[in-house]
Amino acid sequence: MTAAPSPASFVTPAHGLGVRLEHLGKQFGAKRVLDHIDLAIPAGQFVAIVGKSGCGKSTLLRLVSGLDEPSSGRIVFDGAHDGEALRIMFQEPRLLPWARVLSNAEVGLPASVKGEQRHARAHAILAEVGLADRAGEWPSVLSGGQKQRVALARALASGPRLLALDEPLGALDALTRIEMQSLIERIWLEQRFTAILVTHDVSEALALADRVLLIDGGRVALDLDVPLPRPRQRGSAELARLEGRILDQLFAA
């Protein structure tokens, strides 16, 4: 907590948080959205969850991040999973419009960090996402991609051990999305937190993840390892082959 706030040390050396889902189920009224999901996500893994819209992938993420309570089964973490260890990044930036960019990034810091330390750490994390020079701006003047980068800075500020990403790039244009993907990959490689990315974009899942889960009908329909080296070559034959396999499975059902 008392480490000097240099750009490289804005977080204590993070290690991922492993999660195990045991017979996890979620029902909304009579509708069964998730049905007996059994899944182990080892610490530090980058998992992408894909599926058709309404398949329950976002519900799964909300259960893991504690936003909703499961109807059955349980979630076991291999360590503390309080607010600072487990952060979520939403599809919308959800920045406070009345707070400057720096102050928005500070929202992610633990309450125990005070005064100058807060500013310094928030500055360091903004520099990490390439927005150090926009610290004094209002969110309303930023572009969609920049807003989402501030949201990423806010999510990373506490040095989380598990980061849940709920389609954070879904609303961005194609070029900005590729930029953001490299940014997320770079930071993940540095910090090695466990990342769970929900996306509807199969190529995005393959560009980033160690493992792709396909959810269909409330169950895990496909659990695919992606053992390709990083950074991955966009449009390479291996990626195309894996993408074909996932899409086949998706539309076969």
């Binding site: 991040s65 504690g66 936003l67 309080d82 607010g83 600072e84 952060r87 979520i88 939403f90 919308e92 959800r94 406070l96 419009p97 009345w98 707070a99 929202v107 992610g108 633990p110 309450a111 209002w138 969110p139 309303s140 003047v141 806010r154």
Partner: protein
């Protein structure tokens, strides 16, 4: 009685000050256009009032408007000057402003507290909102006879009426503001571990603020209206009282003066609110100056 004394000074009148404004604007050379444009945009709102006053002065001067119906602007200005010299004007203005602000503070704070409480807690809303809405539908000025019976014509009467009048716009707009704060931001605040107090201070209150300001501006209008009526009917000082006294002595210029001062005070309150709004809502795209 100094009011009677003022009346005798009406005859010889100097040209009124506001009439200078349009003359200054048209006298500028066209060479420095940007500066001319800046001056023009600043005084544009005052051109029409100035022309009206000039026309009114002219019609009074030529005798078209009788002085005992509507005195010339110069006569009103002179009456104002004399009232300033005798200290009477500032005394009455001070009394009225103090009443207005005290009523606004009391009614505004109560409205804010109820608005926030009912916006945040369903229980408080269920038990109080119906009652408040019923009371709202009684025109508060209809209570004047009752208020006089209760408080006589003392300060409490005015304070009560103004506070009651400003309570509702502030209550309703605060309630609306608190209830319409983006639920996604509230969820974000919860997930990011904000305490209830922090959540209120950093998310709910700033989110409700634009709406609270709308309420404040409605309240200011109601504040002056209530005060004028209350002072006209039951008071022993203040601008309304000054106007009613002047009516008894047929001092039309003082009556007109009082009306103009109400207009000025209303404008002043509006300017102050705008300034406050600009200071508090800098983040809002509607309040950001494009040339930043």
């Amino acid at each position: 009685m100094s009011l009677a004394e003022l009346d005798s000074n009406v005859a010889a009148a100097p040209a009124p000050a506001p009439a200078e404004a349009p003359g200054r604007a048209s006298g500028k050379p066209a060479a420095r256009r940007p500066r001319f444009a800046a001056v023009e945009s600043r005084i544009a709102g005052w051109v029409l009032p100035a022309l009206l006053i000039l026309g009114w002065e002219y019609l009074s001067e030529t005798g078209f408007i009788a002085a005992n119906v509507l005195p010339a602007p110069s006569a009103v200005a002179l009456a104002g000057w004399n009232a300033i010299k005798s200290g009477e004007l500032f005394h009455h203005m001070g009394v009225s402003s103090l009443r207005a602000l005290a009523g606004l503070a009391v009614g505004g704070v109560i409205g804010l507290v109820f608005g926030i409480a009912n916006g945040l807690w369903a229980l408080s809303y269920r038990y109080t909102d119906t009652t408040l809405q019923m009371v709202r539908n009684v025109p508060h000025l209809a209570l004047i006879p009752l208020v006089i019976l209760w408080f006589g014509i003392d300060e409490e009467a005015k304070l009560f009426l103004v506070a009651l009048g400003v309570f509702f716009p502030i209550y309703i707009n605060t309630l609306h503001g608190v209830r319409t704060v983006d639920p996604q931001l509230i969820e974000m605040g919860r997930v990011y571990g904000m305490s209830r107090l922090t959540l209120f201070r950093r998310v709910i209150l700033p989110g409700a603020l634009p709406s609270i300001f709308v309420g404040l501006r409605f309240a200011l209008g109601i504040m002056w209206l209530t005060l004028i009526v209350a002072e006209t009917i039951a008071a022993s000082s203040g601008l309304g009282y000054m106007a009613m006294q002047a009516r008894e002595f047929l001092l039309v210029d003082i009556v007109v003066l009082a009306i103009l001062i109400y207009a000025l005070l209303g404008k002043l309150a509006d300017v102050l609110t705008r300034w406050l709004e600009r200071a508090c809502l800098q983040w809002h795209p509607a309040f950001q100056t494009p040339a930043e």
